[in-house]
């Protein structure tokens, strides 16, 4: 059953309608449409960047066809609604991997471009947009433009990370990377605090993938304790899933409000941290549980209850001892909100073509908060202030509440971006942050 909501289930909006986009040869004519439109595929953006309150959505789930795969050069062309799950199922057995994957494989290629997503290899590979060779964009004028760094480069740069506002992406061509097999050789290192994390992150260039899970409810001496994971592609001798492999567990309905609170999350964090008895473990696992641990539980956002949740993801300059991150942790621990297990990673300096791209050199932190109204919003605004003062940024794909002032500070190139917005395209996010 298709639902047109964002992953965090906040805010709730109502759309005037949905226009399905079914065939790349027959894009919808938008010149006579009254309301604004916004492309929507998997709905895995957390806040309101994939919503268009009062307007229309262009449902691109039907644009799910592969077009061509050059198995020698590793170049894949596919329609915008194809999921990363579909691509990996096809290419991994043939020795190719997506250049960048996020924490879930249930996102579309169009969404990966529009949010210029990043993954555990950002320090080496940069963002998804850095591996897009070209794409075709339909504008509401009816124009169809193939965009790349050579053709319509400004429109290409606006579309990568452009939150779906520059037009409808019909298809894209992506450069894949060679892998030895479906396995990941993963080492997990327990660390006792932020400065230990920073020491581990110093050596991240030696590994293709690095990420850390941090217990942000731990206070005092244990503040910032967690588990650092680093891995590289390797072979896999275990069984491969069949083309008929079934879907996974699902959370069938909303959990009661307050199920995830400071007590339950604190206990979970303690267990998660203690599960690993030794300081270091090493194992070879299949790629899916390494990259997409939460994909094993469908609709996990429902555990936060009917009010939904907010994910807060920021990037701040990498100062000695993780100074800004420490301040953020202290403010979270000092509030009475209940942050979940946090994800911490060091971004690298590979540039993205995207004008509105979020990743930049520094430390990035992502934390979920059950939505509890004004108190939650007040804490996140307080964190925004810390990030603004540090010269960092907050990720639009996860956002449902940043102020217009914050947005302009985080994305100084927004004016240059705005001239490329299609006049018929808009989103709840854009109207919120563009309002002066």
């Amino acid at each position: 059953m298709r639902v047109y909501r964002s992953w965090g289930r906040y805010p709730r909006v109502s759309h005037a309608g949905v226009l399905p986009v079914l065939w790349r040869a027959e894009p919808p004519s938008l010149d006579r449409v009254e309301q604004t439109v916004l492309p929507f595929a998997c709905g895995r953006s957390y806040g309101d960047s994939c919503l268009n309150d009062g307007g229309l959505l262009l449902d691109t789930a039907g644009l799910d066809r592969l077009i061509a795969f050059d198995k020698v050069a590793g170049v894949l062309r596919c329609e915008a609604g194809v999921t990363l799950a579909d691509i990996l199922a096809l290419t991994v057995p043939q020795g190719w991997f997506l250049p960048v994957v996020p924490g879930t494989r249930w996102v579309s290629v169009g969404g990966a471009i529009a949010n210029d997503i990043h993954g555990k290899n950002h320090h080496r590979a940069g963002t998804f947009g850095a591996h897009v060779i070209r794409l075709e964009l339909v504008r509401s004028s009816g124009e169809r433009l193939v965009c790349s760094l050579e053709e319509h480069p400004q429109l290409f740069r606006a579309t990568v990370g452009g939150l779906g506002l520059t037009g409808l992406i019909l298809w894209a061509e992506i450069r894949l990377k060679r892998i030895p097999g479906a396995g990941i050789d993963v080492e997990r290192v327990r660390f006792g605090g932020l400065s230990e994390f920073c020491e581990l992150a110093e050596r991240d260039h030696e590994y293709e993938y690095t990420v850390a899970w941090v217990d942000c409810l731990a206070r005092g001496r244990r503040l910032g304790r967690g588990i650092f994971m680093r891995g590289d592609h390797t072979t896999w001798s275990g069984p491969a899933p069949s083309p008929l492999a079934r879907a996974r567990l699902r959370v069938p309905c909303d959990a009661p409000t307050g199920l995830l609170n400071r007590v339950t999350l604190g206990a979970f964090n303690e267990l998660y941290y203690r599960r690993q008895l030794r300081t270091r473990t090493r194992a070879v696992v299949r790629y899916a549980p390494f990259f997409f641990p939460l994909d094993a539980v469908g609709d996990w956002g429902r555990l936060y209850g009917p009010a939904g949740f907010l994910q807060y993801q920021c990037v701040v300059p990498d100062l000695p001892g993780g100074r800004v991150i420490r301040e953020i942790f202290e403010r979270m621990a000092g509030s009475d909100e209940a942050p979940s297990l946090a994800v911490l990673k060091r971004f690298g300096d590979v540039p993205s073509p995207g004008l509105l791209s979020f990743p930049r050199p520094g430390l990035t932190l992502a934390v979920d908060f059950a939505f509890r109204g004004r108190r939650t919003l007040a804490l996140l605004e307080e964190l925004d202030r810390v990030v603004r003062d540090a010269g960092g940024a907050v990720y639009p794909a996860k956002d449902a509440r940043m102020s217009p002032e914050s947005f302009r500070r985080f994305f100084p190139e927004w004016e240059q971006f705005a001239v490329h917005i299609d006049p018929k395209f808009s989103s709840s996010f854009w109207r919120r942050v563009h309002h002066s």
Binding site: P20, W23, D59, R65, I67, P243
Partner: protein, 253 residues
Amino acid sequence: MSTTPERAGRRVLIIGATSAIAAETARVFAAYGARLFLTGRHSGRLDAVAADLKVRGAAQVETALLEVTDISRHAGVVEAAFAALGGLDVVLIAHGTLPDQQRCEESAAETVAALEVNFTATIALLTLLANRFEAARQGCIAVITSVAGDRGRQSNYVYGAAKGGVERFLEGLRNRLFRSGVAVITIKPGFVDTPMTAGVAKNPLFASPRRVGRAIYRAIEARRSVVYIPWFWRPIMFLVTALPESIFQRLRL
């Protein structure tokens, strides 16, 4: 990917291959390395589906434009499929339209047109194909009908009549071809959440085309006779058909 020899290279004809359900079924065949012959009404759409199946692993994909109501072309297209693939192991008949019941009630021509697509064309194709499969003494004929064919309801009895008629025909054909070793499969999907129904109010009974496509593949693999997809439609339709007419005629369904 585990590709057993029987699955790889299997020769499959799909009528109405650009429907979301048929394309999803074809993807499973393609992933196992099948050889496919697809028909559809629009060349742009047919080409998009064919390219997708090639990338997903189909050993061969051929296409032919076919308006199923143009019955004079059936023999030529079936012949072309046999020639291109060197015989057939599976045929999946998936074409169909959902007629507007209101307009059918106002126009006999509209009703007849709906029956021609959903009933007459299917019967004509089956008549041709049955003889070829019977002669080959192997294979599988699968036809997508609908739960709507189980009992006529005021909201879509023209569609229901066409699908129900096809089901009676398939019962007889299954009986006839049993001795030749040819499986005849009646596939009855319930509500399917295709992008085409994006504007329609949804309920939890809607299934995704991917789920339905995979279930059709499994039904063909297992040579089932009559299959409801998803399975829960079987008890639902059992109850719907068990209601006495004296009660049923009073309901607004």
